[in-house]
């Protein structure tokens, strides 16, 4: 009988980053993914803020996992997550007021991002702090990577710039639709298609290799 191998730090990190990427595979956190990825700066700001909240709240939830009774766990997790979101909000304002204004209400809405509560409930509440941090880091970086991809495509083609620097010169006519809300759906659809194609090919190659080996 095949036994399930114990999770390692690296495997846990890579799972969130690609195999179970919160945006491309689990389709979680769609609200900020569509709303604040109209530029690379906003996308990175939101991604890193979410990653910060994920890592810190997972760490605290994991440390308190034996203390918090099952009956009040959701209320306690939400309180912990909300506190770290407030801390993240203050830190962003201290770093850059313009970034804070650009992200607006979406910073506060990290509290209700299902990725964070999902990781706290499904992983951090059952695993050691070290493993929980790696899991949260993987999901956080995976989320940031997805937002960065969205933001790059939308800013490069929708505004003709990358991080504010001109990419195509002054004669380029930007595809404004990409930085408007509708453009978010187009780019997300496109990226989901690409990720599915890549995953399908990898799966097919593995199947062929296993077949040859047998």
């Amino acid at each position: 009988m095949e036994t399930k191998a114990a999770p390692t730090n690296l495997n846990t990190l890579l799972t969130g980053l690609w195999n179970e990427n919160p945006v491309f595979v689990q389709l979680l956190g769609m609200c900020p993914t569509l709303a604040v990825t109209n530029s690379v700066r906003n996308a990175l700001g939101m991604g890193l803020a979410t990653a910060f909240v994920l890592v810190t709240s997972s760490l605290l939830v994991s440390m308190l996992r034996k203390v918090i009774p099952n009956q009040i766990r959701i209320a306690a997790y939400v309180m912990i997550i909300a506190s770290f979101v407030t801390v993240a909000d203050y830190l962003i304002q201290a770093l850059s007021i313009s970034l804070s204004k650009a992200l607006g209400a979406f910073i506060a809405l990290i509290v209700v991002n299902c990725i964070i509560l999902g990781r706290a409930e499904a992983f951090a509440s059952k695993n050691t702090p070290g493993l929980s941090v790696m899991d949260a880091l993987g999901s956080g970086l995976g989320f940031t990577f997805a937002l960065f991809c969205m933001g790059s495509i939308r800013e490069i083609f929708g505004n003709g710039t990358f991080l504010g620097h001109l990419v195509f010169g002054t004669h380029y006519q930007p595809w404004i639709i990409l930085v408007l809300p509708g453009g978010g759906f187009f780019v997300l659809g496109l990226l989901l298609m690409l990720v599915n194609i890549v995953n399908e090919r990898v799966k097919r190659r593995r199947t062929v290799k296993v077949g040859c080996h047998v």
């Binding site: 912990i80 506190s83 408007l180």
Partner: protein, 198 residues
């Protein structure tokens, strides 16, 4: 199935979690508050400096009657060049916040900058970049009510030549400028006369 836990224990644990959360928030607030205030002041000062032509130094003044602030711009010779005021009003998407420079002796607005807006990218956000629209604020008369007119129809110095395709945003700017100038410029004129003469 979860084991039964007494209500007192649950309340104690929630209190513990709340105390940890509260301590984190207060610590973060105390650590970041001076930096946040510094950043906010910096943003407004930079915008005020940008709208006051020739200004190299800004002085913040609080109106005693209303408690609202304005900025006096000084040039290299320490002569007051203009006064920068904040104004806001409803735009197409959300509030538009602007800073404008007013020159009391001429009764004219001589500078304008959008500080914050969520107007539609590529359409309404042209209020911050369209050169012919921004040219309205180089010499905008405030002796008459400020109004927006269709692009190319400006005939008077108190009219704002609108942006084709961004009519609502252009009108919103005219409306907020009219409201702010009618409410605040009398007090600014009196201040200027008292401080710098006519």
């Amino acid at each position: 199935m979860s084991t039964p836990v007494s209500s007192v224990r649950m309340m104690l644990i929630m209190t513990l979690v709340a105390a940890i959360s509260g301590a984190m928030i207060v610590s973060a607030y105390l650590y970041t508050a001076p930096m946040i205030q510094k950043n906010k002041d910096q943003v407004v000062r930079e915008a005020a400096m940008a709208v006051c032509p020739g200004a190299v130094r800004m002085e913040t003044v609080v109106e005693p009657s209303t408690g609202t602030r304005f900025f006096v711009g000084y040039d290299k010779q320490n002569v007051a060049t203009a006064i920068a005021l904040e104004a806001k009003g409803q735009g197409f998407a959300d509030q538009i916040k602007v800073l404008y420079a007013y020159l009391p002796p001429a009764h004219q607005i001589i500078g304008f900058k959008v500080v914050e807006s969520k107007e539609t990218p590529g359409i309404g956000d042209k209020i911050n970049s369209d050169t012919s629209f921004l040219a309205n604020f180089a010499h905008l008369d405030v002796t008459q009510p400020i109004v927006a007119v269709k692009h190319g129809n400006k005939t008077h110095p108190w009219e704002i030549d609108g942006i084709t395709g961004a009519t609502i945003s252009s009108k919103a700017v005219a409306k907020l400028m009219q409201k702010s100038s009618s409410e605040r410029l009398k007090a600014i004129d009196a201040y200027w006369e008292a401080q710098h003469g006519n």
